[in-house]
């Protein structure tokens, strides 16, 4: 089409739309001219003017029809129809503001929640990290072959093998995180405990994010046995501690007893490698690292064109080589490579998918609700439809009119859905992250969330509208235009679709309720799990002696710095313990190196038994009386006592799982075990067996070894030297737990005036934090289940109320003919019971199939837990029947005379 013509055509269309009156006026003038010419012609032929006029009228025919068919040529009628439909639709919706509001709100909830969850899934799982070459960044972890879900860090030996024997990566780096003390500067800045990370030189540059000031480490700064006294700090650290000092690069700080020069500041965007790190120092890797200690994080960047699968295959063969070369350390271990994004945010996949299933069900229920509402309304409007059909409205035109209403409702839902989506996002992103995972990044109303909102709105409008539009526009021969007032009550057939929608709603709600019931059940079981110690009334008080205080570097052992422990920190711990014990109001007190449940980092050590077999176990240092204070039952043997000193024979206490696994069918008391750490380590005799305290809330018990804090080697290899200085004192006061804190702090300040206490809290709050992630997620699912149930109840109520409304006359007649309350209730209730029962059966069947999908998120219950299924079913049926009660009461209160007089 030529450009000029296009321009002309569009100008005309626009004129027909915007200046419609003018166009109509012109049309009339044009036709009037023709008419006048016609009259003039007749007069010319000799007719008198009035007869000429009549003749012209005859010749001209129906002017209105002619005008209409001219207007039809404008090609904009669809627009006027649409405008008319919208005006009419809005008027209809405003007639029943209550129902319209409920419908729009429930659609808003469904649309917004779906947009929030799908948007989060898109941002966290599908989209990848916002850094260069995000698709090539990977995390490498080691994994016990017999327990693939328990992913672990890597040993330096494995890292070196990956680095030197593969062709898959163009960079591969290693790091280890630690809590390090930054000294005060003497000018008022106090000492602080901060999170540091030792990294190989490429670690800071592999994301392609440049330091905002200065530089990162060079290879020369991390030679074997040497790491330069330099440090790179985080943006947050620079801002907070140095007031964003522009001259930061010349300054020096003392970290862990070493004076280091600040050479760089990383920008705030540098947060995808490891969360919450305040500073980085160079990590060196010795030429012959020992294989034990899987504590190191390894990240790599695949070479362009190398697939994840081929890299995994290369690493598998290296794992096999390592197992052959050093079976003691590596047998039974494999390697797992994952995309970095999956490593950081992959944990959200399962919760988000489950939540999406939940919100999808909510949206479906909301749609069913709106469809039932529109259906009810369309049967009320049968006479109107009949009238309009009689006046010549086509079926398609009527369907479009009916569709407009559902699309209008959906559009209102979509607009309100923006608010719901934002709230939903906020709720999702505050979902507690698992320990060690970075906080979830903000998403906001990005392009994909907005397009999701749009698509969901259109889809919802069509989904709600299709059945009412088809049924509503069907010309109904039963409806007579002459018939006055309300027509006869709905027939069984006519009520069928609404009833079906009620059943579907109840079924969907039941599936969701059962799913969330199973999750809630799992949560309750986790919270109420018998931890084999008594957390109530226990206060924890963390007290660390910094490693720089007691370690003296004396060389290297297997590639690690090797320290002499001079003035063991246990001496300080002993003094603290005695002071605490002497406080008034303390029933008992004892120390342990880490929280027994849900510790952030668990020390896991290789253990050699008397028959030279090797095992691995979680390892705690403890003071005398620890099990007494924890109130952990001792199965056999004894607790640690004050007689277990460095000079006495070294002893250990094991848990039941360790006893069973290490010495099956034997009495563990008196057996010996040796920790595979340093040559100075001595064999320890098992003197006690205690009940299993699960090391993680939601995991089955693992082998645990407890050793006395006094019976330790005098030399240590990093990083175990750090473990040696940390102690967590468990205080069991006689009164209010936290009332003891000031006295305890004062006592410690007298021993250690310079060192502030970190982390004073109750054990209860620690345990709560441990289940926080699961708790927040289960909470979200439960909220959606409750919403779904509410919507289904509203739907049931709506349909029942409508049925009663429509049958008022029939009920009146029956009452007048002597029907009792029972008959009336049976009349109304019979069909309700059928639909509720159908919903129940379908819901149970659906749940049986679908709950298998959340098996991995359940703990302590099976996906088909009969108690949950039965309990939730009873609850839903009760709610559904309750929703029928009000309509039934209204049916009973029908007054026969009034009902009949209405005719």
């Amino acid at each position: 089409m030529g450009f000029l013509r296009l321009l002309r055509v569009w100008r005309l269309r626009l004129r027909s739309l915007v200046r419609r009156e003018a166009a109509d006026r012109e049309l009339r003038r044009e036709l009037a001219f023709h008419f006048e010419e016609l009259v003039a012609e007749q007069i010319e032929q000799g007719l008198p003017p009035d007869q000429a006029r009549q003749a012209a009228h005859r010749a001209f025919g129906n002017v209105a029809a002619l005008e209409e068919s001219c207007r039809d040529q404008r090609r904009v009628t669809w627009f006027h129809d649409l405008h008319q439909d919208i005006v009419y639709g809005v008027r209809m919706l405003r007639k029943q503001p209550g129902l319209t509001t409920i419908a729009a709100l429930s659609l808003a909830l469904g649309i917004g929640a779906n947009a929030a969850v799908l948007g989060a899934f898109d941002a966290l799982i599908l989209r990848g990290l916002p850094v260069a070459n995000a698709d090539r960044l990977v995390a490498i972890q080691s994994v016990p072959l017999d327990n693939p879900s328990r992913l672990s860090g890597n040993s330096p030996a494995a890292y070196m093998a990956f680095r030197d024997r593969t062709q898959a990566f163009d960079t591969i780096e290693m790091s280890i995180k630690f809590a390090g003390d930054v000294a005060g500067d003497g000018a008022g800045t106090p000492p602080e405990r901060m999170t540091g990370q030792m990294v190989t030189p490429g670690w800071l540059s592999m994301l392609g994010i440049e330091p905002m000031r200065g530089r990162v480490f060079t290879v020369a700064e991390t030679q074997p046995y040497y790491s330069a006294p330099v440090i790179v700090i985080s943006h947050a650290f620079w801002q907070r501690r140095f007031g964003a000092d522009p001259g930061i690069l010349t300054r020096q700080i003392r970290v862990q007893g070493t004076v280091r020069t600040i050479i760089g500041v990383m920008p705030a965007e540098f947060r995808y490698q490891e969360p919450g790190v305040d500073y980085w120092v160079p990590l060196f890797v010795g030429p012959q690292p020992d294989a034990a200690g899987r504590l190191f994080g390894v990240r790599a960047r695949l070479k362009p064109g190398v697939s994840l699968a081929s890299a995994q295959a290369e690493l598998d063969s290296i794992a096999a080589q390592l197992a052959a070369e050093a079976p003691l350390q590596n047998k039974g271990w494999g390697v797992r490579i994952r995309p970095l994004n999956d490593f950081l945010f992959g944990w959200t996949r399962q919760p988000l998918l489950t939540l999406e299933a939940a919100v999808a069900l909510v949206l479906l229920i909301a749609c069913a609700n709106v469809a039932a509402l529109l259906l009810s309304r369309s049967s009320v409007r049968r006479r109107e439809v009949a009238l309009r059909t009689a006046l010549g409205a086509g079926r398609w035109r009527l369907m479009r009119q009916l569709f407009t209403e559902s699309v209008l409702l959906a559009a209102a839902g979509g607009v309100l859905g923006v608010v719901v989506a934002l709230i939903g996002q906020w709720a999702l992103l505050t979902m507690t992250t698992p320990p060690g995972a970075p906080p979830l990044p903000a998403i906001g109303l990005n392009a994909s969330v907005i397009s999701l909102l749009g698509l969901l709105t259109i889809g919802t409008g069509l989904a709600c509208g299709v059945v009412p539009a088809i049924r509503g526009s069907r010309p109904d021969p039963m409806v007579s235009l002459k018939e006055p007032g309300a027509t006869a009550g709905p027939t069984r057939r006519r009520m069928f679709p609404q009833g079906l929608l009620v059943s579907v709603q109840l079924a969907l709600a039941l599936v969701l309720l059962i799913g969330s019931g199973l999750l809630l059940n799992s949560l309750l079981r986790q919270v109420q799990r018998d931890l084999n110690f008594d957390p109530d009334g226990l206060v924890r008080l963390d007290f660390d002696v910094p490693a720089s205080r007691y370690t003296k570097r004396i060389g290297s052992h297997n590639g690690f710095p090797y320290f002499e422990i001079s003035t063991p920190p246990s001496q300080t711990h002993q003094r603290v313990l005695e002071r605490l014990r002497g406080l008034p109001g303390v029933e008992s007190v004892a120390g342990i190196s880490a929280p027994p449940v849900d510790a952030f980092v668990l020390a896991t050590m290789d253990v050699t038994l008397e028959d030279s077999t090797s095992n691995s176990a979680t390892y705690f240092l403890a003071t005398p009386g620890i099990f007494h204070t924890l109130r952990t039952p001792i199965v056999s043997g004894r607790d640690f006592t004050t007689r277990d000193t460095a000079a006495a024979p070294w002893v250990a206490v094991v848990n039941e799982t360790a006893a069973r696994r290490f010495w099956p069918g034997q009495d563990p008391i008196g057996k010996r075990l040796t920790l595979d750490t340093v040559p100075e380590e001595q064999p320890r005799e098992v003197v006690g067996v205690v009940r299993d305290i699960p090391t993680r809330h939601a995991e089955s018990p693992q082998p645990v070894i407890y050793a006395s804090y006094l019976q330790q080697p005098s030399r240590y290899r990093a990083p175990w030297a750090g473990l040696f200085g940390q102690m967590l004192f468990m205080i069991r006061p006689t009164g209010d737990p936290l009332a003891i804190v000031p006295a305890a702090q004062k006592a410690i300040a007298e021993i250690e005036p310079e060192r502030p206490l970190a982390n004073v809290s109750t054990i209860r709050s620690h345990l709560r934090a441990g289940t926080g992630q699961f708790r927040s997620y289960v909470w979200l699912v439960s909220v959606f289940a409750a919403v779904a149930t509410l919507l289904a109840a509203i739907g049931t109520y709506g349909v029942m109320a409508y049925t009663v409304d429509q049958r008022t006359r029939e009920i009146g007649i029956r009452r007048a003919l002597g029907a009792g309350r029972r008959e009336i209730v049976a009349l109304v209730g019979r069909r309700a019971i059928v639909f509720v029962a159908a919903g129940l059966v379908w819901g149970l069947a659906g749940a049986l199939v679908l709950t298998r999908l959340i098996r991995s998120q359940l703990w302590g219950v099976t996906p088909t837990d009969p108690v949950t299924f039965a309990g939730v079913s009873v609850m839903l049926v009760a709610i559904a029947l309750l929703a029928c009660v009000i309509p039934a009461r209204r049916a009973l209160s029908v007054n026969p005379t009034i009902a009949l007089r209405n005719e």
Binding site: M1, G2, L4, R5, L6, R8, V9, L12, R13, E26, L27, R29, E30, L31, F33, H34, E36, E37, L38, A40, F60, G61, A65, L66, S69, C70, D72, Q73, R74, R75
Partner: protein, 109 residues
């Protein structure tokens, strides 16, 4: 390309375009002239004429302008646009093809 249209409508469009090709003229004049030129054979009813004119205008083949007619009354005059002239050529060609085909068939059958 013109849309496939039925013979009658297509023919009316062709006749209108052809009639307008000489000079701009109003609807009444078009009807009169078609009658004259066809020796009183082709009467076009206003019920067909005006919708056709409006359609052709909406398609951009003809344009309208209000001018005084020779009796001094204001009337809506239609004129061919440049594209309308090309459209007329196309319609003429296809009409000729069609009528010669019909002629051939009638002669040979």
């Amino acid at each position: 390309m013109p849309k496939p249209s039925d013979l009658l409508q297509g023919t009316l469009d062709l006749l209108i375009l052809k009639t307008l090709s000489r000079e701009p003229i109003h609807g009444w004049g078009i009807a009169k002239r078609m009658l004259e030129l066809s020796d009183d054979v082709l009467t076009v009813q206003q019920g067909s004429l005006y919708p056709a004119l409006h359609r052709l205008e909406q398609q951009g083949w003809i344009k309208a302008e209000w001018k005084d007619s020779k009796h001094g009354r204001n009337a809506k005059f239609y004129a061919l646009t440049r594209e309308g002239r090309q459209q007329l050529e196309r319609e003429l060609m296809s009409w000729k093809r069609l009528s010669s085909a019909v002629g051939l068939l009638l002669k040979k059958a």
